[in-house]
């Protein structure tokens, strides 16, 4: 199983869509709320070099935003 970590805030629509997409494809992930977790917020900015949510980390690879194609490719999700 790939190690997947989602950095998000509770109020962003693409975060919701992203997490639903992962759940639908039975991908387990760690869900971190950067609105509350300051350390995770810094980690996200540092790793992604940007300040928007969502960010997904898949086995150390960073994907910014809900980039369905890239996420599918990294996780081997087929249409």
């Amino acid at each position: 199983m790939p190690k997947v970590k989602v950095f998000s805030t509770p109020t962003c629509p693409y975060c919701v869509t992203l997490k639903e997409f992962l759940k639908k494809n039975n991908i387990e992930f760690e869900d971190v709320n950067v609105a509350e977790d300051a350390a995770a917020r810094e980690e996200m900015i540092e790793k992604s070099q940007q300040m928007g949510v969502p960010v997904v980390e898949i086995d150390g690879q960073i994907v910014i935003g809900f980039d369905k194609e890239k996420i599918s490719q990294l996780l081997g999700i087929k249409k």
């Binding site: 805030t9 509770p10 109020t11 962003c12 629509p13 693409y14 975060c15 919701v16 869509t17 639903e20 997409f21 950067v34 609105a35 509350e36 300051a38 917020r41 996200m44 900015i45 070099q49 940007q50 300040m51 928007g52 949510v53 910014i64 935003g65 369905k68 194609e69 249409k79």
Partner: protein, 307 residues
């Protein structure tokens, strides 16, 4: 391979599309909803929604959840993707999505709402996601203890600024006109906040930074003087533009780029193609209105399909 065919395709995931979807399902119309995201502009709401009947006060995210749960009670097919093109060949519409291919239908409701309007100054595009944000509700928490500018002294700008007081250490509201234009209560709250500074007659000229935004250059329109503010975040709240890129030839637009509809029926100039909500020239833009327009469009679709 032939495209998958439906009676109706609804494009959008805001209140107009969801209301139309619920009515379509109940009318047993074979329907596909193509939505980039669900909730639309309701998800951009930074403070509670207090004017949608039945809910005295509810957050945008919670109201969206209620809408979506209601829709999912029914057996409506949903594709989470963005629409690229609509074509009409004979009596059939073909709709192309970015990733999921083509779908066909006998009727279409365009309910794609509106996207945030960009400022169009140098530095804006370059720093999207690196300080520039169009979604205060999404990104506000990331600017904890930072100084930020909210561009736009309308109601959305004020609500954004007030929401940011929870996180940011300093918030400048920058308004182009000589006076701000927001609800009295929001202006009062902002004036009382020690964190918020309201600045009028300000024309933003440039967004500067290295890796991330570090300042905003502006000109005082009263004095003509140029100046800069040190900020790490820029929240753009200057209104919206209709999301119509995929439907160019089949409809007419007014001077604001809104789809012109027959206000009685939501019909456009193309038979079988209807539009509802903020994407149209309907005079007022609210959740209740968008939902109602979606319902109106659906009744027109039902009528059209019977013919």
């Amino acid at each position: 391979m032939a495209n998958k065919k439906y009676d109706l395709i609804i494009i959008g995931g805001g209140p107009a599309a969801i209301a139309a979807g619920i009515y379509a399902a109940r009318a047993k119309i074979n329907t596909l909803i193509i939505a980039k995201t669900f909730g639309g502009q309701m998800t951009r709401k930074t403070v509670s929604i207090e004017n949608y009947p039945g809910f005295k006060s509810i957050s945008g995210a919670d109201l969206v959840k209620k809408f979506v749960e209601h829709l999912q009670e029914y057996n409506v097919k949903i594709v989470s993707d963005s629409t690229g093109v609509i074509k009409k060949i004979g009596k059939t519409f073909s709709v192309k999505t970015a990733h999921e291919g083509w779908f066909d239908a006998m009727a279409v409701i365009v309910a794609s709402g509106a996207d945030p309007r960009p400022l169009e100054v140098p530095g804006e595009k370059e720093f999207i996601g690196r300080g520039v944000s169009y979604c205060t509700a999404c990104d506000a928490p990331i600017f904890a203890d930072k100084a930020v500018a909210v561009i736009g002294g309308g109601n959305s700008g004020f609500e954004a600024a007030l929401a940011l007081t929870k996180y940011a250490k300093k918030i400048y509201i920058l308004e182009y006109a000589a006076e701000v234009k927001a609800e009295e209560s929001n202006i009062n709250l902002a004036q009382k906040s020690k964190k918020i500074k309201i600045m009028t007659s300000v024309e933003v000229k440039k967004i500067l930074g290295d890796k991330f935004v570090s300042s905003v250059e502006y000109q005082n329109r009263r004095t003509g003087q140029a100046a800069a503010l040190d900020v790490q975040g820029v929240f753009v709240e200057i209104g919206s533009i209709p999301a119509t890129g995929f439907v160019k030839d089949l409809v007419d637009f007014n001077e604001r780029d809104e789809i012109i509809i027959d206000s009685r029926t939501c019909a456009t100039k193309t038979a079988g193609l209807f539009a509802a909500g903020d994407v149209t020239d309907v005079q007022y833009k609210q959740i209740g209105i968008a939902a109602g327009e979606g319902v109106k469009a659906l009744f027109s679709v039902a009528n059209y399909l019977r013919k």
